[in-house]
């Protein structure tokens, strides 16, 4: 029965954490004189209670699944990759850049996705090499690379890929390179299939291939893994490459699949944040590729329903965000404490060795 408990315990924990989060959110609203019950009714009715709401939730989940995968695969291999944000910007730039070329439909989209994945991988290459061969901690380097990417993307949007008649955005992705909508009158595009596919792929990689097993072994106990013949360099490079590819795709599916503009806005205002939100989603999904899917859909649903909380329940935007924050934080806590515990244990071992 212990295997059953192992499988159910994280789900039980998450449900409990979610309820605590909802309760905390309700208290916040109550304290400021808003009606939590009607707000939550709107929140869930408009996110999961209608076809349109569900489509919105899935559309919001699309890039988050991919950026969450970046963090999850890193964390499984003992790496704290905070760099999905920067990789995602580069992916979006790559997808837009490919629109400068004229290609037949279908092939064009495929190449744009490939280009975005490649851009994400390239962006992770230097932190990966620094980590593998020089021991530079990836938290530091990937955060620094996020800023480099931020300003490079700023420059590209304003100068290189800029729409000559609409200076507030880049050129729009060519029609031949867009991901078709799955439902008319919604934001839901084929991107969700791409995201789901990669979640599945990374699950298979981590749990059903030798090399994936080695990566997880390196994460669980780096010393034992090395003793067992796993090359830490190879693992770091591979994990970074996979993480970079999916993060790059996150940027791509957003610009190629999200109506109406199919472009990156100046200031990156329509893509900024997916990389960081992905970390939260990965925590909620217990850094498991399959757990990430429902976590992202839930997160996306919160965002979709939150829009209506302003409209229908009259809860102001700042309050909505505070409530969202409470729920997300509570949901992320179980995984966060686990990761911190592992981290602390490793620090202790290192100190004792020194």
């Amino acid at each position: 029965m212990s295997w059953l408990w192992r499988g159910f315990r994280p789900i039980l924990e998450s449900v409990l954490a979610g309820l605590i989060g909802l309760g905390a959110g309700a208290l916040i609203m109550r304290a400021w004189g808003y009606h939590p019950w009607s707000a939550y009714v709107v929140l869930f009715k408009e996110s999961f209670g209608s076809g349109y709401g569900l489509a919105s939730a899935l559309a919001n989940a699309t890039p988050l699944i991919l950026t969450a995968l970046t963090f999850a695969i890193g964390a499984r291999a003992g790496l704290f990759i905070i760099g999905a944000e920067g990789m995602m910007y580069m992916g979006a730039m790559g997808a837009v850049a490919l629109s400068l070329f004229k290609l037949p439909a279908g092939i064009h989209a495929l190449l744009a996705l490939l280009c975005a994945a490649a851009a994400g991988i390239l962006w992770g290459l230097i932190p990966a090499l620094l980590r593998a061969y020089r021991g530079v901690h990836e938290v530091i380097s990937t955060i620094m690379f996020n800023w480099l990417s931020h300003f490079l993307a700023f420059y590209l949007v304003a100068n290189v890929l800029v729409d000559p008649v609409r200076a507030e955005k880049t050129l729009s992705v060519a029609k031949t390179s867009r991901l078709p909508l799955l439902m008319r009158g919604t934001d839901l595009s084929l991107g969700i299939v791409v995201a789901g596919f990669f979640a599945l792929l990374l699950y298979v990689f981590l749990w059903h291939t030798v090399i994936g097993y080695e990566a997880r072994a390196a994460g669980a106990n780096p010393h034992a893994a090395r003793y067992g013949g796993v090359s830490p360099q190879k693992t770091v490079l591979l994990v970074f490459a996979l993480g970079g590819a999916v993060a790059g795709l996150a940027g791509a599916v957003e610009v190629m699949g999200r109506p109406p503009t199919y472009a990156v806005y100046s200031g990156l205002t329509n893509i900024a944040g997916f990389g960081f939100d992905g970390i939260g989603v990965a925590m909620i999904g217990r850094i498991h590729p399959l757990g990430i899917i429902p976590a992202a859909v839930f997160y996306g649903g919160l965002q979709a329903g939150a829009r209506l909380m302003q409209m229908e329940a009259g809860v102001p935007f700042e309050m909505v965000r505070a409530v969202q924050g409470a729920i997300v934080l509570a949901l992320a806590l179980p995984e966060l404490t686990r990761i911190l515990k592992v981290f602390g244990r490793r620090l202790k071992v290192r100190r004792e060795q020194a």
Binding site: A158, V165, R166, A167, G185, R307, E312
Partner: protein, 385 residues
């Protein structure tokens, strides 16, 4: 106290008039609290709601990917007699949604969306910018400053109106100075597009650089960045041991003259987003709403250079926003009067003269719409030293 509150609440509910209509106000990522564009939209909508017995629901956007779902959601509810989109950034999303809901009335500020159910409200920013440009140019020449400055947001066509008008106005002001004083003015323009409407620190850094080079005034064409520009002006003045400008800031969108204690913002180019929102609601309320373009310029008070009455109105606005308190009112008014009176009278008369000439059509201010047209205006008024 509690009982009194309760009683007044009951009274308020009882005396509430029948709801005449509902309006959704959809804001871009800039959001409320900018004491400028978005807050003005809110102000106009609030005033119209008070006047016509309407109810407002305000919808902010977390990212620009929210625009489309926010507008669509508002239309889907079917509860709104009018949906106002504040800002050109929402134009693409509205173009998508407007045809999906042909019976829903929409208005958009600062952009043209051509659908029969959309009222597009645009402004003649170049006219007001020419006035503050003339003022800045004459101030620089009069006080012996080498430059006038402007800090702009993202390089978008709407901002070309500001830049084009400002350049034209500075040039006009310098010519006027030569005409009045018989002296030659050697004044250049420092201008920068910061690429942001939200990063206040960038506005401050850009303004600091311009003030350091000797700009007499920095025109804020970047909404919330004005807060940073004002900080830079205040710091510069403090360094010189003074409280009142020059150097000054020139405010934008709202009347920002009251900011900085009333003696650091020499004037504001008011773009009355509030008038736009108010007008749209009024039209729906009176049944005269129809799709099309409504252009608001100097003529119909859509843009204006700030005057005394505007100061009084917007001190109330600032108090309401919590930026200042009632105790500041008298001091700000005194400071403002002293600041304006310290400036030679002929300069204010010249600004009025330019306004009259624009209103009569004798002077037509350039209105660049594209990058090419902007480059042509820059070439015509290079304003380098």
């Amino acid at each position: 106290m509690k009982r009194f509150l309760l009683a007044s609440l009951v009274l308020a509910v009882l005396s509430m008039p029948v709801l005449a209509g509902r309006v959704a106000l959809i804001l871009d990522v800039g959001g409320r609290g900018d004491l400028s564009f978005n807050d003005m939209g809110f102000k106009g909508t609030e005033e119209a709601c008070a006047d016509f017995g309407w109810e407002m629901v305000e919808i902010q956007s977390a990212t620009s990917a929210d625009y489309l779902p926010n507008i669509r959601n508002a239309a889907r509810t079917g509860k709104f007699d009018l949906i106002i989109c504040v800002g050109f950034l929402l134009a693409d999303a509205l173009s998508e949604v407007a045809p999906e809901f042909p019976n829903q009335k929409f208005a958009i500020i600062d952009a043209v969306v051509s659908h029969p159910n959309v009222l597009s409200i645009v402004f003649e920013e170049q006219e007001g910018s020419a006035l503050v440009g003339a003022l800045a140019g004459m101030l620089a020449a009069e006080y012996g400053y080498p430059y006038v400055g402007v800090v702009l947001g993202i390089e978008i066509p709407v901002l070309y109106h500001f830049e084009g008008g400002y350049r034209f106005g500075i040039d006009w002001g310098l010519k006027k100075y030569e005409e009045v004083t018989g002296k030659k003015a050697d004044v250049g323009l420092l201008w920068v597009y910061t690429g942001t409407f939200s990063d206040i620190a960038k506005g401050k850094a850009a303004a600091e650089a311009q003030l350091e080079q000797g700009a007499v005034a920095v025109y804020n064409v970047a909404g919330p960045l004005g807060i940073g520009i004002l900080e830079a002006v205040t710091a510069k003045l403090a360094k010189e041991g003074r409280e009142a400008g020059p150097p000054f800031m020139i405010g934008v969108d709202a009347n920002q003259d009251w900011m900085g204690d009333g003696n650091k913002v020499v004037a504001s180019m008011m773009k009355r987003v509030d008038v736009g929102c108010y007008t749209a609601i009024k039209m729906v309320h009176e049944g005269t709403f129809q799709g099309g373009v409504l252009s608001l310029g100097l003529k119909n008070k859509g843009v204006a250079i700030s005057r005394y009455q505007d100061l009084l109105d917007f001190i109330d606005f600032g108090i309401k926003a919590g930026a200042i308190t009632e105790a500041d009112r008298e001091r700000i008014i005194e400071n403002w009067k002293a600041m304006r009176e310290a400036i030679p009278q002929w300069i204010w008369q010249a600004v009025d003269e330019l306004e009259v000439k624009i209103l009569s059509g004798e002077i037509v201010v350039p209105k660049p719409e594209t990058r090419e047209e902007m480059l042509a205006v820059r070439a015509e008024y290079p304003l380098t030293r």
